[in-house]
């Protein structure tokens, strides 16, 4: 029983990070049919923002880094994606690769490609024991942060006017605009929210890894994208559940695989993904009305 609870905690804390990343990607896909691979650079930017502001008080550094992510997300939308609105999903995807590489290389040229250490929230690494379970404080914080953000996002989408406009735009953008929903505003709000989610992920991820590289978010984004694909592209519930499932698969494989195969854990995880998509190509929780665009 205890072992099971331990795995559950591991799963939820690993999965929470993937789920939050998947939600950031899923929000943008929902309103724009854009798979934004440059979402990872928002996370990376927050990491370097923390380094840049490491002299400031902690709340200032965190608020400043969050502002960087939101502004970068809005700038991406304005400069790179707005001119392409209504383009094929393939075109949008390639544009997002371009934005991603551009930001990565810019960072490598200015700050350097080598890893930099960062001592962010070191006390989160301390172990604590709760109800006989041994865990890191960081795991607990990750679980709580994921729960709070998932609840807040659900509330925003279900209960607020902007949330309603966003759901309408995700189902049928043209009809939403015919009712007066402002396309530019809905998309900008979605990008700003994806920046907030990226910042939360970055805080947790950087506290856990303690290192920064221009490519640090690549694996996270690829895994989160897999989560959104499993959950069903365009469905936010699907994105969150998919993120948790990938986390669970990863923890379970880490446990059941023989030690010499553990290094290839991701290969087994992706094989499972292929299996899921073979059985349910539309994902586990497909979105409705994936047709009309801006």
């Amino acid at each position: 029983m205890n072992a099971f609870a331990q795995y559950a905690v591991d799963t939820v804390s690993v999965g929470g990070l993937y789920a939050l990343t998947a939600l950031g990607i899923g929000l943008i896909f929902g309103v724009m049919r854009l798979i934004n691979f440059a979402h990872g650079e928002l996370i990376t930017a927050v990491g370097y923002g923390l380094l840049l502001l490491s002299g400031a008080a902690l709340p200032v550094a965190m608020a400043g880094s969050l502002a960087i992510a939101v502004l970068l997300a809005l700038a991406m939308e304005r400069v790179a994606f707005r001119p392409l609105r209504g383009a094929d999903p393939e075109t949008l995807l390639i544009a997002s690769f371009a934005v991603s590489f551009f930001l990565q290389k810019t960072l490598a040229l200015t700050v350097g490609a080598r890893a930099k250490g960062i001592d962010f929230l070191p006390r989160l690494g301390e172990p604590i024991t709760i109800l006989g379970l041994r865990l890191q404080t960081l795991q607990l914080v990750t679980i709580l942060t994921s729960a709070v953000l998932l609840a807040a996002l659900s509330w925003f989408l279900a209960r607020t006017r902007w949330g309603l406009e966003m759901r309408a735009a995700a189902e049928n953008f043209q009809m939403a605009r015919l009712l007066g929903v402002r396309a530019n505003r809905v998309i900008a709000v979605a990008f700003a929210l994806s920046g907030v989610l990226a910042a939360a992920v970055a805080f947790l991820f950087v506290a856990q890894s303690g290192t920064l590289t221009p490519r640090m978010s690549l694996e996270l984004v690829v895994i989160a994208f897999v989560g959104t694909a499993i959950g069903g592209l365009g469905s936010l519930v699907g994105a969150a559940v998919g993120g948790f499932l990938v986390g669970a698969a990863s923890v379970i494989l880490q446990t059941v695989l023989p030690p010499d195969l553990r290094a290839f854990r991701e290969a087994f995880a992706f094989a499972l993904v292929i299996l899921v998509l073979l059985v349910r190509p539309q994902g586990l929780f497909p979105a409705r009305g994936l047709k009309e665009r801006v």
């Binding site: 309603l164 406009e165 759901r167 309408a168 189902e171 049928n172 043209q174 009809m175 939403a176 605009r177 015919l178 009712l179 007066g180 929903v181 402002r182 396309a183 979105a287 409705r288 009305g289 009309e292």
Partner: protein
């Protein structure tokens, strides 16, 4: 058949051209809708009826011509702005949001209202006016029948308090009894002073309901007239089926 465009009309369209690449959907269409008037545009499949509606609503660009609403040009304005000026489109196929509840669909109708509180009060009133929508206010709109969805789409459009309601094929896919209901509803809406421009393939239905009707075929207005002028007029069938008016040839 260029109608004279007076600034007194609510909507005045003159010499409107819409092309999709090399394909011309509208080749110089002119028509007018007066305040509180119900006007129909009928024509066969592919006549350009939907293009006309989408161009007026700002959803497709027009390459030439003029669209004036209350005397001001709206050609080239965004769809978000056109609906705020008082033109609401219920497009073909209704386009309700199937995953949202009936109430949420209606709430989107008050997006354009400056006074949200009055909008919410109107929403409650709409749920009483349309009892079936009131009963199902918390259900996903995708579960409604076709006729109920049409009611929802019209009710949603009306919540924006438009001066002009554009309806694209409101009878499409509905049973005759339901079509009666929908047209009954249009009569009520018109009695409240909302002008209606309705596009139909179901010509007899539209002709009987509208004050004036335009017959559109292959992107041109072939004939226009009042109900009295057009019902039983042999020129109507010729225009509808695309036979040249001056030629007098028999319909194929």
């Amino acid at each position: 058949m260029a109608a004279s465009v007076s600034d007194a009309s609510l909507l005045a369209v003159a010499d409107l051209e819409v092309r999709y690449g090399p394909v011309a959907a509208l080749r110089g269409v002119s028509l007018e809708v007066g305040a509180g008037e119900m006007v129909a545009v009928v024509g066969p499949n592919g006549a350009g009826k939907s293009s006309l509606m989408l161009a007026i609503a700002g959803a497709v660009p027009a390459q030439a011509g003029r669209i004036a609403f209350r005397g001001a040009s709206i050609r080239g304005a965004s769809l978000e702005d056109i609906v705020r000026r008082g033109i609401a489109l219920v497009p073909e196929g209704r386009h309700i949001f199937g995953s949202l509840t009936v109430e949420e669909n209606l709430r989107l109708g008050i997006t354009v209202r400056a006074d949200r509180r009055a909008g919410e009060a109107d929403l409650e009133a709409a749920l009483r006016t349309f009892p079936i929508l009131g009963e199902r206010r918390r259900q996903p709109a995708g579960r409604l029948s076709g006729g109920e969805q049409q009611q929802l789409a019209i009710a949603r459009a009306l919540l924006g308090r438009p001066a002009l309601l554009l309806l694209d094929e409101p009878s499409l896919g509905l049973a005759p009894a339901i079509i009666d209901q929908v047209y009954g509803l249009l009569g009520t809406i018109r009695a409240q002073g909302v002008a209606i421009l309705v596009v139909e393939q179901n010509a007899a239905r539209a002709l009987a309901a509208a004050d004036r009707t335009y017959v559109l075929n292959a992107g041109l207005v072939r004939l226009a007239g009042t109900r009295a002028e057009l019902i039983g007029n042999p020129a109507f069938d010729a225009a509808y089926f695309g036979v040249a008016m001056s030629g007098g040839a028999a319909a194929p």
